[in-house]
């Protein structure tokens, strides 16, 4: 009886809660009830994650194992499945809970269509909660096959959400995203088969204990890398992301860019730097870094050339993902710190970057969604005088852009500063050049939009019916976007909130 009320029951509740929310929202008939239940569930989820973090941080010091573990079904690691949480996954869970709350409130108003014949919320809410459940389950999972099932849930739920609109562009993008997702999951499953053949266990912790650099382990790591690079859309394999994120409804593209793409990066970091660290060669780490740098440059160029606002923001996601992959070369070139799990200055810098980018990107997508909802289109060329019509959304867009570029008050600046520090400390100064160039190019494509939005070129183009805002936008939707943008500024000021969160699990 004792363990029921001890705090590690919170781990399975983090997965069970969205599942119950999904079932409820499937069965309930009235849209209003579904929305209110969803908001309530999002609040409860935030509270659970808050208590979990408090418990982790104060019990962090006396922690002998790196992880807090919960063995489902009571069978223990090799036979049963364990839920494990350490600093890095705690940070990601906190980010998921915060974003879920804001986006759920936004979606409540975004999909509220009293007169519409087609009630999209009946399909949106269950898929939304199944996606959140998949994300939570992935960050908590300590078993490689269980990670495959969570990857599938996230993939299928995300595809169904992208295809929610029913327009031809959305459906085509969803189909491409699905094919790429299935391909990535199959490569990952083949790697799971190889690892099980070689080591006989499915548990991450046990695997990291007995992994050694054999041919099979390299093959498995290569397959995991190709599979997850497909799903996280790093440059050579990024062709599906811009259209999928560009044509999805606003809250969906916000959570896709802010979280879903990061789940496969989290797994890559987990496998390369923690579980299969012995098999991770320096050249491999360097190659990932080079791909990241290429992503920064290529994504920024494409963002500059994009004609539609949402497409531009999606390409900027491709670019910002490149920053995450700088973690691999910067992790810790010296041998000894490798096996100490996922920790170190580079990890906290990238963890901070993930939070900053998630808030900024979600704010940008919500602002773009608001602009699209009001103007009926999001072609950048026709957004003259946006400042006059939608000052709050444009202000949100500017703040989020500032965080992407890395201007001082924002969290983006701090994360880039930390990354630069790590680059200088580990004497790999060339990454610093890439980081600064990325910031410069981000500035170019953000200011391009702001430039058009502020100057209304000529009055005639102004009054042309095509360019006038057409429908009313509930103010709370712009407030949600504004809240997220403000979050990046608030995080910019008190950085230690996140930094000591990342190092929870491993000040052993």
């Amino acid at each position: 009886m004792d363990s029921l009320f001890s705090l590690d029951i919170l781990l399975p509740t983090l997965v069970g809660l969205p599942l119950i929310a999904a079932i409820l929202t499937t069965l309930l008939k009235s849209p209003g009830l579904r929305a209110s239940i969803s908001i309530a569930m999002a609040l409860i989820q935030l509270i659970i994650v808050a208590t979990l973090l408090l418990w982790l941080s104060n019990s962090g010091t006396s922690l002998e194992t790196q992880y807090q573990r919960y063995s489902l079904g009571g069978w223990g690691a090799p036979l049963g499945i364990d839920l494990a949480i350490d600093g890095f996954s705690a940070l990601m869970l906190a980010l998921t809970a915060a974003l879920t709350l804001v986006l759920t409130v936004y979606s409540r108003y975004y999909f509220f269509e009293p007169h519409s014949r087609l009630d999209k919320t009946a399909r949106f809410w269950p898929l939304w909660w199944l996606l959140i459940m998949g994300i939570n389950a992935l960050f908590l999972s300590g078993d490689i096959f269980n990670i495959y099932v969570t990857l599938e849930i996230i993939g299928l739920a995300a595809v169904s959400l992208v295809a929610l609109d029913g327009s031809r562009a959305a459906l085509t993008a969803a189909l491409r995203y699905l094919l790429v997702g299935l391909l990535g999951s199959l490569c990952y499953l083949l790697a799971v088969a190889l690892l099980y053949r070689a080591y006989g266990t499915l548990d991450l912790a046990q695997l990291s204990a007995i992994a050694e650099p054999t041919a099979i382990t390299w093959a498995a790591l290569a397959l995991i890398t190709t599979g997850l690079l497909l799903k996280t859309a790093l440059v050579p394999l990024h062709f599906w992301l811009p259209l999928a994120h560009g044509s999805a409804p606003a809250p969906v593209s916000a959570i896709l860019s802010a979280l879903v793409v990061k789940t496969s990066f989290y797994l890559l970091a987990r496998f390369w730097l923690d579980t299969l660290a012995p098999a991770a060669t320096d050249y491999g780490l360097l190659m990932l870094g080079v791909l990241g740098a290429a992503a920064i440059l290529w994504g920024s160029i494409q963002a500059l050339r994009a004609t539609r606002l949402k497409l531009m923001v999606a390409y900027s996601t491709v670019a910002q993902l490149g920053y995450l992959f700088l973690l691999f070369p910067l992790f810790s070139p010296d041998e000894d710190a490798r096996g100490a799990g996922l920790s170190g200055p580079a990890v906290s810098a990238v963890g901070y970057f993930i939070v900053a980018h998630a808030c900024a990107k979600a704010a940008m997508f919500l602002a773009a969604g608001n602009i699209m909802r009001t103007f009926g289109h999001d072609e950048i060329a026709r957004l003259h005088g946006l400042a006059k019509y939608m000052p709050l959304s444009l202000f949100t867009f500017a703040i989020a852009g500032a965080s992407l570029i890395g201007l001082p008050p924002s969290a983006g600046f701090l994360s880039k500063w930390l990354l630069l520090n790590v680059a200088i400390d580990t004497a790999q100064w060339w990454w610093a050049i890439i980081i600064l160039m990325g910031g410069l190019m981000a500035a170019m494509y953000v200011f391009r939009v702001l430039n058009i939005a502020f100057i209304s070129v000529d009055e005639k183009a102004q009054t042309e019916p095509k360019n006038l805002p057409t429908n009313k936008l509930p103010t709370i939707m712009s407030l949600c976007a504004f809240l997220l943008a403000m979050l990046t500024i608030v995080l910019g000021f008190n950085a230690e909130l996140i930094l000591d969160l990342v190092t929870i699990g491993d000040d052993v």
Binding site: V149, L156, A174, L175, L179, L182, L186, L190, Y196
Partner: protein, 98 residues
């Protein structure tokens, strides 16, 4: 050439054929077929790893393959649904044009 190595060749062969099919086949149904062939290949490798135990085959791998089969058909069903919807939309827009 024990039984195990035969089926390993078959499993990686199926995976390769499926991967080639996904990349090369133009028609959308063929791509979905190819993905199914790839998943069958991966499952075969899993079952081979389970079967050469001394006495009884490894039930954990069999459970994994069972879950994999059901997940594969879920993915296929969703892909087919999207394909039919896109076709209906494209057919209707063709109808509107002429």
């Amino acid at each position: 050439m024990t039984q195990e190595s035969l089926y390993i060749i078959a499993s990686i062969g199926l995976f390769g054929i499926g991967l080639y099919g996904v990349i090369v086949a133009p028609h959308i149904l063929r791509k979905i077929l190819a993905i199914n062939i790839m998943s069958v290949g991966v499952f075969m490798l899993l079952v081979v790893s389970a079967s050469n135990m001394n006495s009884t085959p490894d039930p954990v791998l069999h459970a994994m393959v069972l879950t994999g089969i059901v997940v594969a058909i879920a993915g296929t069903a969703l892909a087919l649904l999207l394909a039919v919807k896109i076709h209906t939309l494209s057919r209707d827009s063709d109808k509107d044009d002429h």
